[in-house]
């Protein structure tokens, strides 16, 4: 038969690039049923090809090119009788739609087989990269190569992507329609019983750009619209197919029928697809409602199996329910934690695990009971509830007989005995405390309370940077009411069972507890924290992968509905979308120097160690203090021992680093972070080191003391500088025409020359082009100065002090020159404006022990208005507005600037003066008198009036370029009429806490 087939009989229908160099080709022709092998060729080279005969006249083949530039040439088709032919293969410039059109020719069964081959069932390829590429192609194909594409010539399509049974007669439908004939007159979902749901009226609609892109070519301007809909049926059909009917003015079509998914976990995952990317509010609302149904159904199944081990305590007052989920290994750690605690002897203990975990746990459970001597039971909820925390908690609560119930996550254990007594005592002593929790301690020593992370400072705690916007907060050693509790929580059985229960509406267990707390709060009850009850959190061990971006978005949406508007910023960090899980891990890392206990004496430090990542070499090693980068180096020093230990890693022999860097500008006692940075930008921690550094002492005694005005742009600082410059005891250089930074400049020079890579250039130079003396391009990491300790000490010590002295002398000389040129004879301070720079500012304070500092603040919303107006006036965005695309986003930029100012104020407020722009405008005399009094210079009425008068005179020369409001008075509170409602809202969301801290009302 095949010998009768000639190349002329075979047509190439399509050759499509599916992305990532994956190509798919389709051939048709009579006689192809005898085909025994197909090989795509490129430049005469045979590619590894997968193929399938569909029906008796169509061959599909897929292969992977070396690169997109490689052109396919021909296809070798071999037949069972040994004959072969070469089919011409068009250049791979067809569109996917061409392939789809080719498939539309097929009868339904063949089309199904073809799609199956392309999208699902191809045998595993020997090329892993090909499989990966096909996987991404499949993601697209699965969504769009539906079996209901319609027949060729039809102008309308209706596709049902998924039907999910959400429980209780609710179904979630997701799909899309496409109609070339114009607007559909009717789109209906048809239930298994023949009922219909009007999707045009009931569904949430959204664009489906990817589908549209597939069909855009050659199909006119047909609109593709996606839909999702939560349908409630009076009866609950567990069987039967759903379909979609589409009618327009010219005709109708219907989708291929689809059976619903009943597995609750699969259902949740399916619905979460609607929350991937940027769903419209309507779609998000529909999806959230559907997931809530699924979650609730999963949370409340009955029929759990209970296995007892040991004699259950009679009349136990307390039931402890541990939601161990899918990790049976945590059970023993809980038993170990409870076994020595006398308070736990009379407690009824239950572990709730999934059925899979139970298979591992139950054989060991009798032995665990023997070893620990603690009676307990293992509760296994029905399969469909999967690993739901709420299901576990509810099952445990149902099986409990205690007056009060403690719910414990599987991935936490108490830090010490006595926790139960503290929780009960707090609960019983405060009738208003409906639910009581403790403090969560993580492996890194940070603690969490009410969803906010803190670093310890004795009995108090400071909010960590991820919540840097919150004011400083204190953890009280005494029990106190809080917004929410997490970790181990205690409540009366009645409260949990009758009043609240766990609805399971959230996916993450922390979020679920948060939701419980919010519901309690909404019903007038209180959550209390007993801080002395501490619990270790080892979640990172048990759940290295989170619930995914869509899951976090869902939880945030659910909680967002429950959180009162005023406290939305207190949402627990866990439910905010976090950074994507790292693709890299460090196989090996070590900080050889300095040792953890080393106290640093000089002005520099050297970190030495290695960092070995799997897959890719570490791109750079970075040292940071408080998030600020201090130094970086490559990570490629030779490490033979690491190579010996990791022979499987090619780059293990060059994974070391040696990084000397300056400590100038750090506090006397500091902690630095050493991090590995991958080429992709991912950062992996290597370690931290604490140290104590020597204060920088200079031998220069300046004639003029510094007065620094630390502020942001558009805060009226030019006006303040002008005012200050008029005082006979203050010197400023052209404050209105220029913005000199003489002191900042020389301090930056000092820091640059204090870097070891810089001063080592003097004794071991690498003479590259450019400013080689800075050592920025220095290759050698360190200089062997064995036996030269004295010189090394001098370079890193006295040498730097001499540089700083020189810098002070230069600053002093400049301003003395200015003083003389202005004819001032009694000057005591030079005045400079600066933006907050933690390192430089700290260094300035260090070498100028007598420096004065004014923090000038202004209503940040007015700052924004002024910045935006200034940009508009100049025709170019500035003051950070140029960094973002919209005015709304600009408030986030402003927040980051203001946080730096706020942090500087917090650090140096002692001995500094806070000055508000608004006060300066409203009461210049009294405010300037306050400033002068702070400086200890002439502050009498006459002097102050003269200063203001002189400044107003000087203002006329140059203020126009600065001014963006009609008058200074008009610039106060301008945001109320300048900002739109949306911008006001954005300002409130971004700045409320900072405004509050600087004394401005947020509304």
């Amino acid at each position: 038969m095949s010998s009768l087939v000639s190349a002329a009989d075979v047509a190439t229908l399509a050759a499509v690039d599916l992305g990532d160099s994956v190509v798919a080709a389709a051939f048709s022709g009579a006689g192809l049923e005898g085909c025994s092998n197909v090989t795509l060729k490129s430049d005469g080279r045979e590619l590894e090809t997968r193929w399938r005969l569909v029906g008796d006249s169509l061959v599909l083949a897929t292969a992977r090119r070396v690169g997109p530039a490689e052109r396919l040439g021909e296809t070798l088709i071999t037949f069972a009788d040994g004959t072969a032919l070469t089919a011409p293969l068009a250049d791979v410039d067809s569109e996917p739609a061409d392939l789809l059109r080719a498939l539309l020719e097929l009868p339904p069964d063949s089309r199904r087989a073809a799609l199956h081959f392309l999208a699902w069932g191809a045998p595993r390829h020997s090329d892993a990269a090909f499989d990966a590429a096909m996987a991404s192609a499949r993601t697209v194909l699965r969504d769009h190569l539906q079996l209901s594409l319609g027949k060729r010539g039809e102008r309308r399509s209706a596709v049902l992507n998924s039907v999910v049974a959400c429980g209780g007669g609710a179904f979630y439908l997701r799909g899309w329609i496409r109609d070339e004939a114009g607007k559909p007159t009717s789109v209906k979902a048809v239930t298994p019983h023949g009922g219909t749901v009007d999707l045009l009226g009931e569904a949430a609609w959204e664009d489906r750009p990817v589908v549209a892109a597939y069909f855009g070519d050659g199909h006119g301007s047909a609109e593709v619209r996606g839909f999702c809909c939560l349908v409630h049926l009076p009866a609950d059909p567990t069987r039967g197919e759903w379909l979609i009917e589409l009618h327009d003015a010219e005709g109708a079509t219907e989708s291929v029928p689809l059976e619903p998914t009943h597995d609750l976990e699969a259902a949740r995952e399916s619905i979460l697809q609607s929350l991937v990317g940027s769903p419209t509010p309507a779609v998000a609302e529909m999806a959230v409602a559907a997931i809530e149904r699924v979650q609730t159904a999963a949370a409340r199944p009955r029929g759990e199996r209970i296995h007892g081990f040991g004699k259950r305590p009679t009349n136990a007052a307390v039931s402890l329910v541990v939601a161990a989920g899918s990790d049976p290994s945590v059970v023993e750690h809980h038993l170990a934690a409870y076994g020595s605690d006398p308070e736990l002897r009379a407690v009824e203990l239950a572990f709730v695990v999934t059925s899979t975990a139970a298979e591992t746990l139950l054989p060991d459970a009798p032995g665990l009971h023997e070893i620990y001597g603690i009676p307990f039971c293992v509760i296994v909820p029905p399969e469909e509830s999967a690993a739901s925390f709420a299901a576990a908690a509810n099952a445990g609560i149902r099986a409990s007989g205690g007056r009060v119930v403690v719910l414990a996550p599987g991935d936490m254990i108490p830090a010490a005995s006595g926790w139960l007594g503290r929780l009960i005592e707090t609960h019983d002593a405060h009738p208003e405390a409906a639910i009581v929790g403790g403090t969560v301690v993580r492996a890194d020593g940070t603690v969490a309370s009410a969803g906010v992370s803190f670093a310890r400072e004795g009995n108090s705690a400071v909010a960590l940077p991820n919540d840097a916007g919150s004011p400083r907060r204190t953890l009280f050693p005494a029990p106190h009411p809080v917004d929410a509790v997490s970790g181990y929580v205690l409540a009366s059985a009645a409260t949990l069972a009758a009043v609240v229960g766990l609805s399971g509406s959230c996916i993450d267990d922390r979020a679920e507890l948060f939701a419980v707390c919010l519901r309690l709060t909404a019903s007038g009850k209180q959550c209390w924290c007993a801080p002395a009850a501490e619990f270790y959190d080892f979640r990172a061990h048990t759940t290295p992968v989170g619930i995914g971006e869509a899951g976090e978005r869902y939880d945030a949406l659910v909680l967002g509905r429950l959180v009162p508007e005023t406290s939305k910023r207190a949402l627990p960090a866990k439910v905010k979308p976090g950074p994507a899980p790292s693709k890299f891990t460090l196989l090996s890392k070590h900080l050889r120097e300095p040792s953890e206990t080393e106290a640093v004496g000089g002005h520099g430090m050297t970190v030495v160690g290695h960092a070995l990542a799997a897959g890719r070499p570490v791109d750079a090693v970075v040292v940071r203090y408080d998030g600020v980068e201090l130094a970086r180096t490559s990570c490629d020093a030779t490490t033979p021992r690491v190579a010996d230990a990791h022979p499987e890693v090619e780059h293990a022999g060059r994974s070391g680093f040696v990084l000397p860097f300056s400590l100038l500008g750090l506090p006397e006692q500091f902690e630095i972070q050493i991090e590995a940075e991958m080429e992709s930008g991912e950062v992996l921690p290597i370690g931290t080191r604490r140290g104590t550094r020597t204060t920088l002492q200079t031998d220069y005694d300046p004639h003029l003391r510094p007065l620094f005005v630390t502020t942001l742009g558009r805060t009226g600082s030019s006006w303040l500088m002008l005012l200050l410059a008029q005082h006979p005891e203050l010197v400023a250089y052209l404050p209105f025409r220029l913005e000199p930074r003489v002191a900042s400049y020389w301090l930056a020079v000092t820091r640059a020359l204090a870097e070891p890579r810089s001063y080592l250039q003097a004794i071991d130079p690498e003479l590259w082009a450019g400013p080689w003396w800075l050592g920025n391009n220095r290759m050698r990491r360190n200089v062997a100065m064995k036996g030269e300790r004295h010189i090394a000490d001098w370079l890193g010590g006295r040498n730097i002090e001499a540089i700083a002295s020189f810098a002070q002398r230069q600053i002093d000389s400049f301003y003395t020159e200015v003083e003389n040129s202005k004819g001032k004879t009694t000057a005591r301070f030079f005045v400079e404006k600066r933006f907050p720079d933690a390192i430089n500012d700290r260094l300035a304070r260090e070498i100028y022990g007598n420096a004065k500092e004014i923090f000038l603040v202004r209503d940040l919303r007015d700052v924004a208005c002024s910045s935006l107006s200034f940009g508009a006036k100049r025709g170019a965005a500035s003051f950070g507005r140029e960094l973002v695309e919209s005015d709304e986003e600009y408030f986030d930029v402003l927040r980051s600037y203001a946080l730096a100012l706020r942090n500087a104020w917090r650090e140096r407020q002692e001995g500094s003066l806070l000055l508000r722009y608004e006060d300066l405008i409203e009461s210049p005399e009294s405010e300037m008198a306050r400033v002068f009094t702070y400086l200890g210079i002439e502050a009498g009425d006459v002097a102050t009036s003269e200063v203001i008068a002189a400044a107003k005179l000087a203002e006329r020369e140059g203020q126009e370029g600065h001014r963006t409001a009609a008058s200074p008075a008009a610039s106060v509170g301008r945001w109320r009429h300048d900002l739109s409602d949306d911008l006001k809202r954005a300002a409130r969301d971004a700045l409320a806490d900072l405004l509050d801290e600087f004394g401005y009302p947020s509304t």
Binding site: A336, G339, L368, I371, A443, H590, R592, D644
Partner: protein
């Protein structure tokens, strides 16, 4: 008064796998056997059942005929080395509980729980609520997953000053800090059931107290030694130039440091000579074996590699050296070789860290050198062999080894104290 029934629990039998801790534990058992105050039983974990012992081993231990010795087979493959307990929970513990119920000891004295499980301490408490439970801490295994050495796994043999979940994670990146936290909590929860911990050195006590064991439950009590008869000291004139090393040839024992020091001494034309007595080189890492062979080749002129030795040969071998060097690069606790050297009147040159520095008084009973520094060791040896009067001076300060009889009396006293306390605590 009825004799005290003591169950000594050890991770190996010295007849099967010799080691310092095993040897001491078995000597203690034998000393108890000789005393009318005790009825001891020695339980030794073994990789095999007693039926598989060789004739030599069976000569020393026959569990079928000697009711005072019990072999307790466990498989290393079913042992969770990270958590220090059997993987399959309950089965091994139930066997141990059965033995406890059969023997009904007044005192359960754990000498080691490797291959058995820290949870044996808890099982002992569950099974025998009134028994005294004593645990002798031999090294840092509960604290440190790195074979209990408290030496970091990284580029250099860096001594570890303190444990923490994060530091342990640095040594073993495959385990998260949270896992190390859980490991510590689990092990401590088991050890909390012991009434008393014995450490052979102050150093070890301090480390365990820092780790979290209650200081008031830790007693420092050195190993007791059975009396030895040193060979008569030959009259020798002139310098004492003969150095000896006794112990296993492993990376932690610092033999390579000693050999490198001998290279320096050879270059300096020093008269010092070294005799290396040790075993187990053949089971070390290939790179380490190669390094030792390379150094032995380079020091053929002043080093003799004697090889493996038996306890009975020790007097003769000790008589052939003047000084004993203990160059370990890990902390050690209370190395038996120091007691053995002192028993034979040999001053000790040792690393200036941990249990070695504690047991050898610098300039009094021996000399210290900076750990891991071959040049520093060479300097100290040069001083030692270059001063003919120093050897006799140091030797004159050496006290006899701590006699086993005194040790047993002290142990007996500790048992009594614990039993008295338990009688008050447990009805």
């Amino acid at each position: 008064m009825d004799p005290t029934r003591v169950l000594i629990v050890c991770h190996n039998h010295p007849a099967i796998r010799p080691g310092g801790a095993e040897a001491y534990a078995f000597e203690l058992h034998k000393a108890f056997m000789r005393s009318a105050d005790f009825e001891p039983v020695f339980l030794a974990r073994s990789a095999v059942d007693g039926a598989f012992l060789s004739p030599h081993e069976r000569h020393l231990i026959d569990p079928h005929t000697d009711p005072t010795q019990v072999l307790f087979p466990t498989s290393p493959r079913s042992f969770d080395h990270f958590l220090g307990q059997a993987r399959r929970r309950g089965l091994t513990a139930a066997r141990f509980a059965k033995i406890l119920n059969e023997e009904r000891p007044d005192v359960v004295h754990f000498q080691h729980t490797q291959w058995l499980g820290y949870d044996f301490v808890r099982v002992a408490r569950q099974t025998l609520p009134n028994a005294a439970i004593v645990y002798t801490l031999q090294e840092f295994l509960p604290i440190c997953h790195h074979n209990g050495q408290m030496v970091r796994t990284l580029e250099e043999f860096e001594l570890c000053e303190e444990e923490s979940p994060l530091r342990c994670h640095e040594c073993f990146p495959q385990f998260t800090p949270e896992q190390f936290l859980l490991r510590k909590r689990l092990i401590q929860s088991h050890l909390a059931h012991a009434d008393l911990f014995i450490t052979p050195s102050e150093f070890l006590r301090d480390r365990y107290a820092a780790w979290g064991l209650p200081p008031d439950k830790i007693v420092v009590e050195d190993y007791g030694r059975l009396p030895v008869q040193p060979l008569p000291e030959a009259r020798r004139a002139g310098a004492r130039t003969r150095i000896g090393f006794f112990g296993q040839i492993t990376a932690y024992k610092g033999v390579d440091i000693l050999l490198e020091a001998m290279v320096h001494l050879s270059e300096r034309k020093s008269p010092a000579t070294l005799r290396v007595h040790g075993a187990n080189l053949e089971i070390q890492w290939p790179a380490f074996q190669a390094r030792i062979h390379e150094l032995l080749d380079a020091t053929r002129a002043n080093v003799t590699n004697v090889g493996r030795y038996s306890h009975e040969q020790l007097p003769a071998l000790m008589s052939q050296v003047d000084w004993v060097v203990v160059p370990s690069i890990w902390w050690e606790n209370s190395p038996l070789v120091i007691q053995e050297a002192f028993s034979h009147g040999r001053p000790v040159i040792c690393s200036d860290i941990g249990g070695m520095a504690e047991k050898v008084e610098d300039g009094v009973t021996g000399l210290h050198f900076r750990a891991s520094d071959p040049k520093a060791l060479a300097d100290v040896i040069e001083t030692a062999v270059g001063d003919p009067s120093l050897w006799a001076e140091l030797r004159s300060h050496i006290s006899p080894a701590y006699p086993m009889d005194e040790h047993v009396a002290r142990i007996s006293e500790l048992y009594r104290e614990v039993l008295a306390r338990r009688a008050v605590v447990a009805p």
